[in-house]
Symmetry: C2
Subunit: 232 residues, 2 copies
DNA sequence: GTTTGACCAAAAAAACGATTTCGGTCATAC
DNA sequence: GTATGACCGAAATCGTTTTTTTGGTCAAAC
């Protein structure tokens, strides 16, 4: 096996790219399979060679996005030699999320984009949220000495969720011109976390990065599992 | 004039109380004037002796709530001798907001509660937001030496908006059992703000409280103005 | 072996009138 | 003077039928 993609993989990528753009723009319900096929330059039948249904196509798209964003997060943490503090890692994940309009819509559970899928039974979000990855992230960071251990992990994780949810959702509330650059915003958020949650005795940055690597591995497994479930 | 309310004032209060409970529960659109009258124990006609329309009744309710919450905020700041730091004041306002279900719905711009009023033209929110009270709050706090002056007030204010919006909206995303007590949550948020935004040289708490007093006065004026506009 | 697009049943949307509900008014009662 | 609720027109809701759209299939074409 070489690293070049097969013809099929390239076509699947084109389909998902087309679906992503259309769904972000018009929403899941208002985007038809026909339109996705046209935008991807394939026939409608071809889509069903890759996915069993519109729903599974969408779930494939969601899973790809989860993976892409977590990969981007990991890369940015690995690339930054200064990284390892809680703030720098949180900044990295906010940045990674912010790059993807689809990911933003997912995190804020935007009904305009996710449409009827949002309330479809047994959807991927229910399954994904039942794993409490955020709490585990904080617990492992505490164990690694990157986060103060005198505050309950549940509470820390919840405040981080609040900030994250506010960050991706604030665009629904404010006009674009009232919003400062997201670099400045993210910078300040990172500072706040660092100053409030870093232990007094300082941190071993490499340990923090090690936690991220381990967590992303875990996360990939969860995604693979979700992928598997979808196939049945 | 004595401090006892007139009969009319008492009736207006009963009407607003009834409206508040029904609207929080069933939403603006699904609550009828008839139901409000019944719940308040008055006739429908009586309602129109106090308000020119259903819309103005609702705006009266909104303005009363703004005033009540800002008053509760001020009281809690005045009562707490330790208050004056940014964190303690922010904690107080989150608490005050959290006490009022209606205020929570307003801050998260909940369509289930605010219904068609949310997109009604020239609604009170548009007018209220055009005044950038949050930015002015931060600027005055910086001038009083309670907040670091080396960070742009716009950015600080925006991050505080993000936290606030996330705080009142997170209930839409998570199940109640996944949410820690709001006391713990608020406590940590306050710590984060204090540690990240307090100047190194420490603060004069009384100066901070003085800013609050001045701001609430300003705010009352803005509300009075909005009230006036509504009457035309 | 691949790919396509005409085709189908099911679901959604539109059309439409009948019916009910609702915000607001005002003649009447107190 | 104050308060009420029957009353009105506008608007929303409902029930039903018709029309259009859409997800998914598969015989035919390549």
């Amino acid at each position: 096996m070489s690293n070049s993609e097969t013809k099929e993989q390239r076509r699947e990528k084109r389909i998902l790219d087309a679906a992503s753009e259309l769904i972000v723009r018009f929403g899941y319900d208002k985007t038809t399979v026909r339109e996705i096929a046209d935008a991807a330059g394939v026939s409608k039948g071809a889509i069903y060679l890759h996915f069993d249904s519109k729903r599974e196509l969408f779930e494939g798209l969601l899973l790809r996005e989860f993976r892409l964003v977590s990969r981007a997060w990991l890369d940015s943490v690995e690339a930054d030699k200064e990284a390892g503090s809680l703030g720098s890692m949180y900044r990295a994940i906010l940045s990674a999320q912010h790059e993807s309009e689809l990911m933003m819509a997912i995190y804020r559970q935007d009904p305009k984009v996710l449409g009827s899928y949002l309330h479809a039974e047994d959807n991927i979000f229910e399954r994904a949220y039942s794993q409490s990855v955020h709490v585990r992230f904080v617990e492992q960071m505490q164990a690694a000495g990157v986060i103060r251990q005198d505050i309950d992990a549940q509470v820390i994780s919840h405040v981080m969720d609040i900030v994250d949810y506010g960050f991706v959702s604030i665009g629904e509330l404010k006009e674009p011109e009232q919003i400062p650059s997201h670099e400045e915003t993210i910078e300040l958020i990172g500072q706040m976390l660092d100053r409030a949650l870093t232990p007094a005795e300082g941190v071993d940055r490499e340990k923090g990065r090690a936690v991220i690597r381990r967590l992303i591995d875990e996360y990939d497994e969860i995604l693979a599992q979700l992928m598997g479930q979808g196939d049945e």
